[in-house]
Symmetry: C2
Subunit: 256 residues, 2 copies
């Protein structure tokens, strides 16, 4: 089992090392992650410039590479053969914040897994529901253990074609985790606000600021079970068709 | 009716001006588009740096601004009030190439419309199915007329909540267009291949190359109807839950 591990926070993020080390018991692990942070950068394919790869020294037990591409570029490079390894599984994370609701199309953690899914490989994205305004060093121990358990099941059962998993893990010790629930994607509520400022030359510039997003804790959703202390496992697909809207739009008379 | 027009090819792209001018008959039009090309750049929210806006001179009849942010940043800036206009509708395009199948999470044209959808505004992305390897200047006349017809229907009927439209338009004259079909998202087949080269200092670099993607022309899909000469109107949603996979994954015993 050849396992590729990537993330969107960059090669030096502690969540990446914790995840990669947790995978070592399940197969041969290769890390290929971006040099820099690509949070909230979406699903990118870099075609307008070439990409670089370099072998890096992460920890003694890990084979690791960094690239100047995005998280999804890292997956593309690896799956198209840049490392001369044929991968069986792609794991992304652990992101230091939850990726729930509408976060999934923005998230580099999730879009890296999407890239693998499009290439028909099983893929799982892991994120940690860390407390808001947490200061100091996050503990990834529980997340790493949960990730290993879930990935071992993915290896046992496989994933349905065209499906990736988006996993969110509560913050705390393993015995605080209430269990595992398979969920649907919930609703995020973004509370962005514009912060207009003026530079020393009197020209305006704009920060996208505001308050951190919240979630709607509806039953059976990612955010709902997460806020009750469960690990949320959301199967996602790349068919975005709004099937319930087809009939309504078919009624429009577009010929007049 | 205040209409925001954006794109992912940048403020100088001819498809943007054609689309904006077609919208003038339907309401007050403001263009806010990226300074540079953001094709295949995904759903981006720029939080790590501030964004700039500048008024630009596009054509005499259009109020236009450019930003150093992504297509979705342009939408966010406008909807968060940077232009002090309350928009009713967001239109994106016209992209010079089709956005079908799995293209939708990569596409800046579509993710700009997603950004509006998350902010609960009706949004439509328009793309032109131009011939492969087309050389010379694309003609956006048909696309502009089709876009105006569809947007006038969106104004009449509204869109169901959480739904955006992804529209792909055949290339050719208006009388060659066979009609309009409401479709589901089809399958893209990417044919990417790695092109490894060496720089003048002997170090390797990698282009994501290969052949252009093709589509599976299945009945009722975006690519299927497009290749028969119809305009494809695909309603998309941002709930990516793979509902059919929920039961299968619930069977996994994650407690052992």
């Amino acid at each position: 089992m050849q396992i590729l591990v990537t993330n969107d926070d960059g090669i030096l993020a502690p969540g990446l090392t914790a995840l990669a080390q947790a995978m070592v018991k399940l197969g041969e692990v290769t890390v290929l992650a971006p040099e820099k942070n690509w949070s909230i950068s979406g699903h990118v394919k870099t075609l307008h410039k070439p990409l670089r790869l370099q072998k890096v020294s992460l920890t003694n037990d890990l084979l690791a590479y960094a690239s100047d591409g995005s998280p999804s570029d890292c997956v593309a490079l690896a799956l198209l053969g840049a490392l001369e390894t044929k991968f069986d599984l792609v794991i992304s994370g652990v992101n230091p914040n939850a990726n729930i609701g509408h976060d999934v199309t923005y998230s580099g953690t999730v879009t890296a897994a999407m890239e693998a899914c499009i290439a028909r490989l099983p893929a799982v994205a892991f994120s940690l529901n860390s407390p808001e305004n947490f200061q100091g060093e996050l503990n990834y121990e529980t997340a790493a253990l949960v990730a290993r358990r879930i990935v071992s099941k993915v290896i046992d059962h496989g994933l349905p074609e065209g499906v990736l998993l988006n996993v969110n893990i509560p913050y705390g010790s393993l015995d605080q985790v209430k269990g595992y629930k398979v969920t649907r994607q919930g609703l995020r509520i973004y509370r962005d606000a514009l912060d207009k400022r003026y530079d020393p030359r009197g020209k305006p510039y704009y920060w996208i600021g505001g308050k951190p997003p919240i979630g709607v804790a509806a039953e059976g959703t990612d955010y709902g079970v997460l806020s009750e202390g469960y690990v949320s496992i959301t199967p996602l697909q790349l068919d975005l068709t709004a099937f319930t809207a087809l009939k309504e739009i078919e009624k429009w008379d577009l010929t007049d």
